[in-house]
């Protein structure tokens, strides 16, 4: 929709060096697919990140770097690597979008993360794959943080005014893991009510469960050794109290808890099996 209060769009070619003076009413613009989908009466200026010209995907033996401005379509087209079995999660999480494939042509990975909705599938993906977010301040300084810590609540994150998400590093160590994926939605291909991902080391053992969409922000539980059903259940209950589940039109909290436990156990059982 038209954002009628926008007075100016500025091509942001560099963040560092005082190129941008951040003002009230400013917003970074990546794909724009969320910004242009709701009224934004408080915004006056958009700073277009496309002009940064960041390389969308950089794959190396160390892992995969995803630029914040990488489109969902470009990420979905990433072929994966045979030694990265967990890269199938990229496809699954892209398909977890409520949004059409047409929107993937514009929407960005960083945009989805910075929107910080509970059902943001790029949050699920990058958290489960133990991603590291690279955040830039207006002074050009970078800081890094684990994906898990970025989202702080429904539509809330750690970014300070003017800060932006530059890239996400997905380490090869996580991409080499075996993984299992489960998702629930109230309609076929609808918005996620719960999205759970489990990973284990290739040789088995250490088990990581990431719960998202069911909770306002992602929750991760790490076991040094493969847990049994009861241990998993107990740790889930510790990590997510009954009032810790998200409540909106896409699922009642007690249902999200129910599904979280059901899928968590399915994932545990699936990954407890012998390596494929």
């Amino acid at each position: 929709m038209n954002l009628n209060t926008i007075e100016e769009v500025r091509q942001a070619t560099a963040v560092a060096g005082g190129d941008v003076e951040w003002r009230d009413g400013d917003s970074w613009l990546a794909g724009g697919t969320w910004l242009f989908s709701e009224p934004q009466p408080y915004l006056r200026r958009l700073l277009d990140l496309r002009a940064m010209g960041w390389q969308p995907l950089e794959s190396s033996d160390g892992g995969l770097r995803v630029a914040a401005t990488c489109t969902i379509a470009a990420l979905y087209a990433f072929p994966g690597r045979p030694d990265w079995p967990a890269s199938f999660l990229i496809d699954e999480c892209c398909r977890a979008f409520l949004a059409s494939f047409k929107i993937w042509n514009t929407a960005t990975v960083g945009g989805n993360i910075c929107m910080s909705l509970p059902a943001g599938p790029m949050i699920s993906l990058t958290t489960a794959l133990e991603g590291v977010y690279i955040i830039q301040g207006l002074d050009g300084a970078e800081r890094q943080m684990p994906a898990l810590d970025f989202v702080t609540g429904n539509h809330q994150n750690v970014l300070q005014p003017g800060e932006l998400l530059r890239a996400i590093d997905l380490p090869a160590a996580a991409l080499r893991k075996r993984a299992a994926f489960r998702r629930m939605s109230m309609t076929h291909m609808g918005r996620s009510t719960a999205l759970l991902i489990g990973t284990v080391l290739p040789q088995g053992g250490a088990f990581t469960l990431t719960v998202s969409a069911a909770t306002p922000r992602p929750v991760q539980i790490v076991f040094a050794e493969a847990p049994d059903a009861r241990a998993l259940r107990e740790r889930l209950n510790e990590a997510i109290p009954d009032d810790g589940y998200f409540d909106d039109v896409h699922g009642a909290p007690e249902y999200r808890k129910h599904i979280t436990h059901y899928y968590a156990e399915q994932i545990r059982a699936e990954l407890a099996g012998a390596p494929a």
Binding site: M1, N4, S37, A99, S100, F101, K102, M186, H188, I259
Partner: protein
């Protein structure tokens, strides 16, 4: 900067925050539609350098230098249709056509692999509210369903809609697909409180916003009570509404209207208005609203129509036959339960909108999206004290309605602003306004008590209905009467008792929507009949067959007064047999493997009057044109209901020609005779009847004149495709017209039809479903629908009406849910949060038609616009109980709302 659209280059520049959708429309590419403006519906899909995008989400400046393709640029330069456009024509993959441009732009971008491999995922961003997606799927797969028309044999043939070529090329003009010099834009400030008194309004800052022309408050509008509801007889609704009021009765009520040079300025004006409210206690639940001491929504100073304002009772209805106490005393089994139905939104893709202007003759013109331009005109005349001759209201193509446009929601304010400013004024609802401030289905709580003897004979039916009409009473009374009619009239039983209440609350108003109140109570009755069958250990078909009305039976509910409704044709038995057999045959679709799925099947019956009890009339004007074709002028609007196609088919068949040779002028108070409106399933039963009568009369007149003109015996004269043949002489109709006019004869006439007497239509639906014992997910394995529509005028379109209604029924029963918070605010006024079914959500339904011929309807036909929705929800509820052994009384059956008892009962079963 330059923009390249469909091979043309434009040097205009968009505003900084403008999206590509509105920029393209400003450049004149009206094929780019707004369904949601939020990326959810896909109606605005275009290609950028061949890549499909939702143009409402694209900052316009980013399209600079790219090749932009809209639906208008899809066809070849020589005008040859793109294969996908041709396929959408061949399968008639549209009804109202508002989603079609986006649907075609999306489908045309897909590879064969995309289509064969995962069409559901590729179509999930394109919503269609009309078709139920079957015809769209056919179109994308290249299936041809349109049949060839033959002279005089159009009726019964699946001919395409006259507007089809324009719809698939983006040339069809909907309400706002036009520009006018000097257009102003209107926006309204809406109330943040559910119940409040306005203490003061300061509009000075708003008036100071550059571009703002006028700001209207309750003090600036005619202080006349009226109803937004459209009925021919305005006395069936309470006059409880002011154009703008100083009392707020629901969150979202319009408070102040701002008119400005642009939408942007009007929006800014709304933000600058300062309103001081005195907040009042509010009531949201109708039972609470009826209790003593509840906040009063409309006080006694209002319309005397309101029965008990101090208890918020708009209307109460009490009636019945026999004596239910005697009936229950005679029963071996009694079943009683309360069934709850929720709001549902029409979700027509074209939101409410209108453009008004005063022309050089001083007449008010209103271009609008309405199901009834005539009644809209009458209301505007009343509000502004104008004569009928001073107002013209018309519709071009209407982008869906489903009852939502049986309401005057925008035309009054654009008319006020146009009269006041002397400029054309446009107002377009946002999708958010559509959800939170138009109308919804009346939520009803229906208690049904049934008594039966051991052999299944009903001895008593008792029903209590509480309907929530919301903050205003538009349609509150008529929906309640309808709710109390066919639902109970469907079954023979000597003792019936009904008590029903339509109650005001401080929630958004309920209104007209497909099924019109009956859907809610039929849901209750058909669930109760199923539960009774279980209690009696009878087959649910057998119990119904034992008790349903038979030809010749009166259909009694509220009393035994003489009625103008009768069974003009009876296809209920056949419908029941078709569904029973289809379910018994199965369709080879099994539940997913593993032990996690419970399966069951359910059925429900429905009966629906073929016209409303209120006055309903239509006039068809038919004439021969100079080129020998015919012109049909008729007031009824086309919004995807397909009546235009039926009209031309009926005229063509009667006049011995093909549908193509009948040109239609419609829905314009200046150009056609009066028509009450396209609602209450009257398009076929009333409007088409007028067409049929006119065509019959014109045929006779043509033949009479031809006989006397040629001096050939009348019995030797007949019509063929484009001429009259008198013995050995063949006179083209154009020549005959010339001869007639020369000799002072007219080959033109009109006929009127009335919605009385009325017949009834029947529908039966059956489902076989699987329910997941842990997650509560429901999979529809088989869906079967049988409809008794009398003579089938157009089998392809009739299937489309049934499929669309079934899809809406499934959406209402399984997915859609409007949530209102504790302040009375709609929480989810977006498609992404109020999920109407997408292609992936709707199974193919096997559809059967009863072979009947109605004695009342035109050519034996009766309407099928609404009634197929009625049996869908109860059939699902009954299948759900069959699968789980648990009765769920309240809609919808979303997994998170039903899983708990299912899991408790079956969760520990098999692993």
């Amino acid at each position: 900067m330059s923009y390249h659209v469909n091979g043309k280059t434009f040097s205009e520049n968009p505003a900084a925050g403008q999206c590509l959708r509105t920029f393209l429309r400003e450049l004149g590419w009206f094929g780019v539609k707004k369904g949601c403006d939020a990326g959810d519906c896909g109606a605005c899909s275009v290609w950028l350098d061949g890549v499909p995008v939702h143009s409402c989400l694209i900052p316009a400046y980013r399209a600079e230098g790219l090749q932009i393709t809209t639906i208008e640029g899809l066809a070849g330069e020589n005008g040859d249709l793109h294969p996908m456009q041709r396929q959408f024509l061949d399968a008639q993959g549209f009804q109202c056509g508002f989603c079609t441009a986006g649907m075609i732009m999306t489908a045309a971008s897909l590879s064969a692999e995309d289509i064969q491999g995962d069409l559901a995922r590729h179509l999930k961003g394109n919503l269609c509210r009309c078709t139920g997606y079957h015809a769209i799927e056919d179109a994308i797969h290249g299936v041809k369903t349109v049949e060839e028309d033959r002279p005089g044999a159009s009726v019964g043939t699946g001919v395409g809609a006259p507007a089809g070529p324009e719809v698939v090329t983006g040339k069809a003009r909907y309400t706002l697909d036009t520009t006018m010099e000097g257009m102003l834009h209107l926006k309204v400030l809406r109330a943040p409180h559910a119940h409040a008194k306005i203490v003061s309004i300061d509009k000075s800052a708003a008036l100071a916003v550059p571009g703002v022309h006028a700001v209207y408050t309750w003090q600036d509008v005619p202080r006349k009570l009226y109803t937004t509801s459209i009925h021919e007889d305005f006395r069936v609704d309470p006059n409880d509404t002011y154009m703008l009021d100083n009392i707020v009765r629901f969150v979202g009520q319009r408070i102040v209207a701002v008119v400005a040079e642009s939408e942007a300025a009007a929006e800014e004006g709304c933000r600058q208005v300062v309103v001081e409210y005195e907040v009042l206690p509010a009531v949201f639940d109708p039972e609470e609203a009826m209790r003593a001491g509840a906040p009063v929504v409309h006080d006694t100073s209002g319309d005397q129509f309101i029965r008990q304002p101090e208890r918020n009772i708009l209307i109460d209805i009490h009636g019945g036959i026999g004596d239910v106490e005697t009936g229950f005393a005679a029963a071996d089994v009694i079943h009683e339960a309360t069934y709850g139905t929720h709001r549902g939104q029409h979700a027509h893709l074209e939101t409410h909108c209108s453009i008004s202007w005063v022309d050089e003759d001083g007449r008010l013109n209103v271009r609008t999206t309405s199901q009834s331009p005539f009644i809209c005109r009458d209301k505007l005349c009343y509000l502004f004290g104008l004569g009928l001759q001073n107002v013209r209201v018309f519709c071009d193509r209407v982008g869906g309605g489903f009852g939502g446009k049986q309401e005057v929601l925008t035309e009054d304010l654009t008319a006020l602003a146009a009269i006041n400013t002397g400029r054309p004024v446009q107002w377009e609802f946002t999708r958010e306004e559509q959800f939170s401030a138009s109308t919804v289905r009346h939520p009803m709580q229906t208690t049904v008590k049934l008594g039966a003897t051991r052999d299944g004979t009903l001895t008593a039916i008792q029903m209590r209905v509480v309907s929530n009409t919301g903050a205003y009473g538009n349609h509150g009374g008529e929906t309640l009467y309808h709710a109390c009619s066919e639902s109970v009239g469907l079954y023979r039983c000597p003792n019936k008792k009904i008590d029903a209440f339509a109650v005001y609350t401080n929630t958004l108003p309920s209104g007209a929507i497909r099924g019109y109140g009956l859907t809610q109570t039929l849901y209750a009755v058909e669930c109760a009949m199923d539960e009774l069958a279980r209690a009696l250990e009878m087959d649910p078909f057998d119990l119904r067959q034992k008790n349903v009305v038979r030809p010749g039976d009166p259909m009694l509910s509220l009393g035994e007064e003489a009625s103008d409704t009768e069974i003009g044709s009876y296809g209920l038995d056949e419908c029941a047999t078709q569904v029973r057999d289809a379910l018994a045959r199965g369709n080879g679709v099994a539940a997913p493997p593993g032990g996690d799925w419970l399966t069951g099947q359910g059925i429900a019956y429905a009966m629906h009057d073929a016209a409303p009890p209120t006055e309903h009339r239509s006039e068809a004007r038919l004439r021969v044109l100079e080129d020998g074709a015919f012109e049909l002028a008729i007031g009824t609007a086309e919004f995807g209901n397909g009546t235009t196609t039926q009209h031309v088919q009926i005229a063509a068949s009667t006049l011995g020609t093909v549908a193509d040779r009948v040109r239609v002028v419609q829905s314009d108070t200046d150009k056609t005779g009066f028509d009450t409106g396209a609602f209450a399933s009257t398009g076929t039963f009333v409007a088409s009847k007028a067409v049929w009568l006119a065509a019959e009369a014109l045929r006779e007149r043509i033949l009479d004149f031809a006989a006397s003109h040629t001096q050939v015996g009348r019995d030797m004269c007949r019509l063929d495709a484009a001429a009259v043949i008198c013995g050995e002489v063949r006179i083209p109709l154009g020549d005959l017209l010339q001869a007639a006019e020369t000799s002072g004869h007219q080959l033109a006439l009109s006929r009127r039809a009335y919605g009385s007497p009325r017949s009834v239509a029947f529908n039966v639906h059956g489902f076989r479903i699987a329910v997941h014992r842990v997650t509560g997910e429901i999979i529809i394995l088989q869906s079967v629908h049988a409809a008794d529509a009398g003579t089938v005028i157009n089998p392809m379109q009739l299937r489309g009406q049934v499929e669309g209604a079934v899809a809406q029924g499934i959406g209402w029963a399984l997915y859609e849910r409007m949530v209102i918070d504790e302040t009375g605010k709609v929480v989810n006024p977006q498609f992404r949060n109020y999920r109407i079914p997408a292609y992936a959500d709707i199974p193919r339904t096997e559809i059967f038609f009863a072979d009947t011929h109605d004695t009342i309807g035109p050519l034996g036909a009766k309407g099928m616009g609404e009634c197929p929705i009625n049996p869908v929800a109860p059939a699902l509820a009954n299948a759900l109980e069959d699968a789980t052994g648990i009765r769920f009384h309240d809609l919808p059956f979303r997994p998170d709302l039903i899983y708990r008892p299912i899991f408790e009962k079956h969760g520990m079963a098999t692993a």
